[in-house]
């Protein structure tokens, strides 16, 4: 009886260990995928920041060029006689 109980306990322990190993494997899979998701998010953040920085630079350049054009056009419109053929 004690011997049968011992065998049963060993089997239960074995089963428990196996289940534990399966659980750990499952957790490791989940954590691996979460880390990959995190890496994707970090890479996406850097790419998006780079694109936004380029957009910002382009917008700044455009703004300055438009200001320059505005000044030039205002100077030109202040002297319309320049464009009349004499």
């Amino acid at each position: 009886m004690a011997r049968a109980g011992g065998i049963t306990n060993a089997v239960n322990v074995g089963i428990a260990v196996q289940a534990d190993w399966e659980n750990r494997e499952f957790i490791s899979h989940i954590s691996l995928h979460v880390r990959r998701l995190f890496d994707f998010l970090v890479q996406f953040e850097s790419t998006t920041k780079n694109k936004l920085a380029k957009l910002n630079e382009k917008l700044d350049t455009l703004e300055r060029r438009l200001e320059l054009l505005e000044v030039q056009v205002s100077n030109a419109t202040s002297n319309p006689a320049l464009f009349t053929a004499n």
Binding site: F26, I30, F40, L55, K58, L62, L66, L69, Q72, L82
Partner: protein
Amino acid sequence: MEVENGRTEKKTMTFDEASMERSKSFVTALQELKNLRPQLYSAADYCEKSYINSEQKQMVLDNLKDYAVRALVNAVDHLGTVAYKLSDVLEQQTLDISSMELKVTCLNQQLLTCQTYTDKEGLRQQQLLAIIPRHHKHYILPSASAAKTLSWHLASETKSTLKGSPHGIMSTVDSKTNGKRSGAFTLLDTADNTRKKSTPASSLAMQTLGVTRRESLESSKPLTQYRSFDNPTQMAIIRPPVRSKSMLSAFFAKQKTPKLKTNV
């Protein structure tokens, strides 16, 4: 035109609407991703309490595993949607900025053209007018009306020699010799008529023909007198310069004006 304007307006509206739609979808996806966080927190709390309180822990564990897998897949799906829509919005804005750059460049080019035009116009107005002779002095005739071909002059010279031109400077004594030269002197009349318009470059031609600028400009001796033969007493006999060569040689010869003047 109105229909086309309407269509273009519709196109612009649809373009704006499309951009608005993109922005709206991105905001919606982002909102859904944000809503996932409280859902996952609430699901985790429920699983923890049920595992603690329930007797069938293995079943709770299995359910938890399934839920974790599906939650992870759902989160990845939402993150992918948000990333795609954000990339789409950024790309559209980049295209808009590129088109704006092109338009600004066009405006800049137009302004530069206007400035170049004004600069050139100003230079043209401020430049001193100077008539630069394009041809050698030999080939420049004294008057604008006399700017005819050399062959014409030669032909006129031959005609005058045949017919005897009534115009020009002539003397009764040297009528024969002057007949040959009348063609040359016909130029003098036209030159005198347009003497006001004659240029300094044409003075040499006039000198070769025997008429100096001084003589032509003298008001005391208007050359109109020399045209008529009715009043020979009013003028003295003016002998033309001695010419031993033809008109061609007169054109192509070097200046012999001092000698020619003395002969007059």
